[in-house]
Amino acid sequence: MVGFKEYFIKRLVYIGFTLLGISLIVFGITQLLPGNAATMILGKFATEESIQALEQQLGLNKPWYVQYTSWLADFVTGNWGQSFENNSPVIETLAAPLRRSAVLAFVTMILVSVVGISLGVLAAVKKDTPSDVVVSTASYLGISFPEFVTGILLLMLFTGPVFNVLPFGGYAPLSEGFVPWLKHLILPAVTLTFVLIAHVVRLTRSEMVDVLQSDYIRTARLKGMKERSVLLKHGLRNGLLPTITLLALDIGYLLGSIVIVEEVFSYPGLGRLIVRSIQVRDLPVIQASIMVIAIVYTFANFGADIIYTYLDPRIEYGES
């Protein structure tokens, strides 16, 4: 597949340009922040001379493009600077929250795929029955409530007088045992799932409805195949392709939602770190976290494209 290889390389080059553009946006916007880095590090009461000395040292009096290129070179080589807030290297500040967010995102994506696809298939098989209506309505409600509303309503239900079974928020590492870990993870993951699942359900349903009406499914049924194997062997395999792409695209939306959800549940992940560093104007941490998220998002999109292109022989390699 020569075409595919060329397409793959072209996309990689294009990703390079996209990331360069993102780095410009992130750098540019954070430069607009009121008060420059020197004032932020030294505090409001620093003397004029000490601020000027630090500005000199940080290179803040150089033109923006010199500052940008040196920042970019540092970022690419893994030198992400020191956090203004606690003076430790940004990479170390990011590591643990990033890992916790990745766990939350992973559990959420599994929930979204398994529950979303199952409900979508159920709705398609039981098309126009009450189950179909219930599934479609529920998923509609999911996208209509912002993350913070869903999260707080769940907290009200499960941490208070009604069912006092889950912690109010926070995080427990796996080393403290599986059950406490799960208890802290479950509400944030369910909230994210509720928000993300609607599109998966809808797309799976509409694809499966089409597939189930197709000729080869009818043939399989006429041959006397069991309904279960018709569904699993022929239906799912053909109906799931668009859903896989959608799941990869949903990672982007998840990365935005996670900021709100982690804030609601005091889950110490990357999202909460971003909100915190915004509050204290911790510039290097803001820049690095947003870059990390943008890189993950860009590669998720790339993955979605590649999977789709590879699996679907009808697609042409080229511009959309």
Partner: protein, 295 residues
């Protein structure tokens, strides 16, 4: 001659709008969306007339008063009237969604039409820049813009408008691409009309259906991002009510009074649901060739 033409034109536009409204009102999604949105929009618009109390006045009744009694929906922890606060909060949240969508349209639609119509290298260049904006998750981009400009309603509108720009530009561009080789466009080119004239007089009306559908979905999403920013303390500033800010305040006392959380949450959910349903119903009615199904 010109006069008859314009009369005919008006008639056909009126007829079209009538037909679209009729179809919208006869679809179940359309009916439901209007049932949800009309009272919410009227309530927010006429909040100063309807609200029984000043939304920021404290001590209207005891704190956490239950619904019924002196106040229709109860009071919050400062004894402020929740009904008045929900009405005024709607004004802030919905205005934010509408204004952000409007700004997104003003920025995105011209970019989309010109990019699609001019084509070639210009198109490629513009779309690459739009793609870069699309590579940062919406909420994070909005957060980034608000943080650098400062919190507040105007900056939130600007931030969400910027987030919407590339999405609206993309939809408009695809729609433009699908019609740019139609006869009436080539005829206008043959007449020697300028590119700007063709873009806004010939193309714009034809791509309107796709834009309207997308815009109605965007309003709901704009309210969602806007209230999320307010929830983080970066949107509408206290003591002015906003649904997101109200929920964030209610969070600390959620086990003392459910009403404080429940009313703004319900109002928010119903409004976004209403706009989502409206978008879907319009999509079915107007049947544009290209639409997005992303968040």
């Amino acid at each position: 001659m010109a006069e008859t033409k314009s009369v005919e034109f008006e008639e056909s536009v009126l007829k079209r709008i009538n037909r679209i409204l009729y179809r919208l009102l006869s679809s179940r999604k359309g009916q439901l969306s209007i049932l949800l949105l009309v009272p919410i929009l009227l309530g927010s618009l006429f909040a100063p007339v309807i609200a029984p109390h000043d939304p920021t006045a404290t001590g209207i009744a005891d704190q956490f008063a239950d619904p019924g009694g002196e106040t229709l929906l109860g009071t919050d922890k400062f004894g402020r009237d929740l009904f008045s606060r929900v009405l005024y909060g709607g004004q802030a949240s919905i205005t934010l969604g509408l204004a952000a969508t409007a700004l997104g349209l003003v920025l995105g639609v011209p970019i989309g039409i010109l990019s699609g119509y001019l084509g070639g290298k210009t198109d490629e260049f513009i779309m690459r820049i739009m793609d870069i904006f699309l590579s940062i998750p919406s909420l994070l981009l909005a957060l980034l813009v608000v943080v650098s400009l400062g919190s507040g309603m105007m900056n939130a509108v600007l931030a969400i408008g910027i987030v919407f720009m590339p999405r609206l530009a993309r939809i408009t561009r695809s729609s433009t691409l699908s019609i740019k080789n139609e006869e009436y466009i080539t005829a206008a080119e043959a007449r020697g009309e300028s590119s700007l004239y063709i873009a806004f007089v010939e193309i714009l009306p034809s791509v309107m259906p796709a834009i309207i559908v997308e815009a109605s979905i965007r309003v709901g999403f704009g309210i969602l991002i806007g209230t999320s920013l307010s929830f983080l303390g970066l949107g509408t500033q206290p003591p002015n009510p906003d649904w997101g800010y109200m929920v964030s305040q209610a969070r600390t006392t959620m086990h003392e009074s459910i009403w404080f959380v429940l009313w703004p949450s319900l109002a928010l959910g119903a409004t976004i649901l209403g706009f989502n349903l409206l978008g879907d119903a319009l999509r079915d009615t107007l049947d544009p060739e290209v639409t997005s199904d992303e968040h």
